[in-house]
Amino acid sequence: MLKIENLHARIEEKEILKGINLNVKAGEIHAIMGPNGSGKSTLSSVIAGKEEYEVTEGDIYLNDENIEDLAPEERAHKGIFLSFQYPVEIPGVSVTNFIKTAINETRKANGLEELSAKDMLQKIRATAEMLEIDRKFLSRSLNEGFSGGEKKRNEIFQMAMLEPKLAILDETDSGLDIDALKIVANGVNKLRNANNAVIVITHYQRLLEYIVPDYVHVLHNGKIVKSGGPELALELEEKGYDWVK
């Protein structure tokens, strides 16, 4: 699904990623952990195509296609979804209208017809129910005045609606209380199948109790310094990051 080879990236003059290698296959969940400033968010932004970052070396392949020259929206159309740590507020545009626009733009780019109003509504309702989202919430302006937890849940709602091939959850657990965390994790677990993959980026082990990864990678100073199974997350929780540096 996703193959990253020797990826180096910088913003302005500062090199942040210094040779990342990562191979994520369909059906897998990977967790990327690491201390603040290790490059976790940069990695997710670079995969999603944020233009402020310059890839200086290495390649990113999605299903064997090099996506380096693709715009963020083109990557989204090919099935990459990034759940933001800090989602943006868009006054005057409701959650429903926003997701409609996003879905139909993606369908258009893939040569599909727009989803009918009826199908869209059904899908929205079913997804909202799954994530225990109140319908009133859907007519509010996107992220405007949302609590931290509401913003994150809304990100997962959008993910569920867009059904990405590769979902990257960037610090989705931050700002969530334990109930919201369970709902979000439950949503992610329901959506996973043999044809998609998830990368969970997190500072803490907590979320990984609910979304159990197949692999855990430790990012430090722009490089993956250690990889292992789910037990690695527990070890990190116990010993801290100093242990792997």
């Binding site: 933001f84 800090y86 989602p87 006054p91 926003f98 626009t101």
Partner: protein
Amino acid sequence: MDLKDKLITSFLAFENTVGTDTESDIHDIRSEAFSHFETAGFPTKKDEEYKYTPLNSILKQDYNVFPKSENTVEFADVKKYFLHDLDAYKIVFIDGVYSSFLSETTHDGFDVCLLGSALKKPKYKMVIDHYFNKIACKKSSLTSLNTAFSKEGAYIHIPKNTVLPKPIQIIHFATGNEAAIMLQPRNLVIVGENSHVQIIERHQCLNNNAVLTNAVTEVFAAKRAIVDYYKIQNDNTGASLIDNTYVQQLQQSVVAVNTFSFGGKLTRNNLEFYQEGEHCNSHLNGISIIGDKQLVDNHTLVEHKEPNCESHELYKGIYFDNATGVFNGKVIVRKEAQKTNAFQQNNNILIGDRADINAKPQLEIFADDVKCSHGCTIGQLDDSALFYLRSRGIPKKEANALLLYAFANDALSQINIPELKTRITKLIAQKLGVDLGFGV
């Protein structure tokens, strides 16, 4: 002959056409205003108030100042400029001349009709003497020019305790049949105690020929009156508009003027509020979205004269290419006006590196127990926000438009007519060059 000379030599002929047969003071008012204009002339760049809005390029056209009276238009050709899905009274002018065919006026319980007849007929004399030209600025040469040539426009007089069943649309069409014309509509709006009226005003040229409109509107809101005034300024590139609107409020009245400036060559809005009673509330909202070589200038004044009043001012501007925006917001709080709450906000986004905005808040506060704030921002679109939208599959152009729409959005919140809100949203989408794909 330049425009000023042309206007001066036309004045006598004009006076003959309107006649002076009533015993009202109209003739004197016109003559006095004319002398003022004759002395002062058009504002120049040396005038501080017109420093960033040079009128010389629009004044050098050879305007016909007496448009022909027989111009007609087909309803099918102009239907789109009406809010045709909205039941409304209509006062429509074609090249400055009233079109009874396109209008729907009334005298049933209240007057929604023509200033032209109100100025002439004795039964309106008392009202005219009491209100006409009472708050229009005597120091503005452009307003004086309009007063001197004032002949036609909307006359709206709502007695007390009357809520109008439907809004009023005032539309000034210019046919563009002549290479260049000058129009000077004059509106008078009087809203009685406890009464409520909604007015939508639009100036529209039907082709790209030059039109210069110098409009004056006086609005009087009596005690507890509510007035919602909407100005749609989306004219063709040959049309320029100088809109002078004066509002006087008595106690507990609420008046909102919403100005949507999306078109035209040059648009100058002089909007002045005078609060003459306690607990007045004034709202001034504006959205400007303009592009190449267009200019929109919002000059506002709110004068707080009495205690316990509020004013809320919110102007949003989006400027593309080498568009120019000007905002000058003056707030005066007189010594007596304690407990005033006056808020002013002006936010601008420049797209491209050639657009220009000149913003100037001016607060003159003579009372000591007041809350006054002003804020002005000039910025560009936020890259992180843009990335967020694009990462959801929304292409760059649409993502830009969505963000700009979101930026302008809070200035739309006071549109109380759903059909109008839909229309304005569509105009914004059109202006931003996208189909936003949703209603409001």
